[in-house]
Symmetry: C2
Subunit: 146 residues, 2 copies
DNA sequence: CTGCGTGCAAAGTATTTGCAAACCG
DNA sequence: CGGTTTGCAAATACTTTGCACGCAG
């Protein structure tokens, strides 16, 4: 899979646990806490520590495989990033089932200049943070859990 | 000040510490952690507990006086919201001095429909999260601390 | 006075660290 | 083999809670 190449390129070793973490997110397609990931991986690995999860999620975020999200409560979530090679994109999450998707469309550049003038800031970075309801949830579909 | 009215309207009592917290943010104009606020208020109140800060910052966020920001590290910051009556606005923060400003300009509605089609989400909420360098920092100004 | 606000002490929870052993390339 | 990765145990840091007293309205 493509994610392995990224690990390689970033000089991170391919270990079974790392693969399992990525697969967890790919299969689940939703955002999750380190704890969630841990509970799941424990099914397949008799020995696995929570710190391992934390360390890897952090690294994966650094290399762009995962995105870190601030949850409602004081907790952080991670979601997988499917647009690996694409440069610029944003994420949208479903407030009902926690599904996460990404998209490229972005018209921020159009107003960037004006905002810079108004605020006297030089804008370096922008992120759209979208919340909504995904199609499955809208149709009252059952949210199967992984 | 206008903030008092808001407290009143929201049935929150006007206490010296609450006023001091708001003034801290108004004067400082930058985002800060609960701990930062605490350290500062301790100068003026011999007796003040960190939990008081936490409780009030949380309430202030609920009623729209403050905004909660996810920092780089696993920590939350608060910044004051100057656009009290205005409906829709976003924030920009300076990565150098932590200044926070708000502005109203927003062209998201233009692409909202298209994103909804592409992602199959019904968008309920959007937030721009902007980072940049403010004028003072760009000009190499000293960042006076409060 | 009446209930919200606060200090204090203590608990709770998320996250990080250090180090030896295991493992990838 | 040699440097990463991991498990384990423990530490750290941030945040929340419970309760009695105090103060705003």
């Amino acid at each position: 899979m493509e994610y392995k190449k990224i690990l390689k390129r970033k000089k991170l070793k391919i270990t079974p646990k790392r693969i399992a973490i990525i697969n967890y997110f790919l299969k689940k397609d939703k955002y999750a806490t380190p704890f969630d990931v841990w509970i799941y991986l424990k099914k397949n690995f008799k020995k696995i520590g929570l710190p391992t999860i934390y360390r890897n999620l952090e690294e994966f975020e650094k290399i762009g495989i995962l995105t870190k999200i601030k949850g409602e409560e004081n907790r952080f979530y991670y979601g997988i990033c499917k647009m690996l090679n694409k440069k610029h994109h944003h994420h949208i999450i479903c407030t009902s089932c926690h599904k996460i998707s990404d998209f490229e469309l972005c018209n921020f550049e159009q107003i960037k200049g004006e905002i810079e003038e108004m605020t006297n800031f030089e804008i370096k970075e922008h992120q759209f943070f979208l919340k909504g309801i995904c199609k499955d949830c809208k149709e009252g579909g059952v949210n199967e859990k992984i």
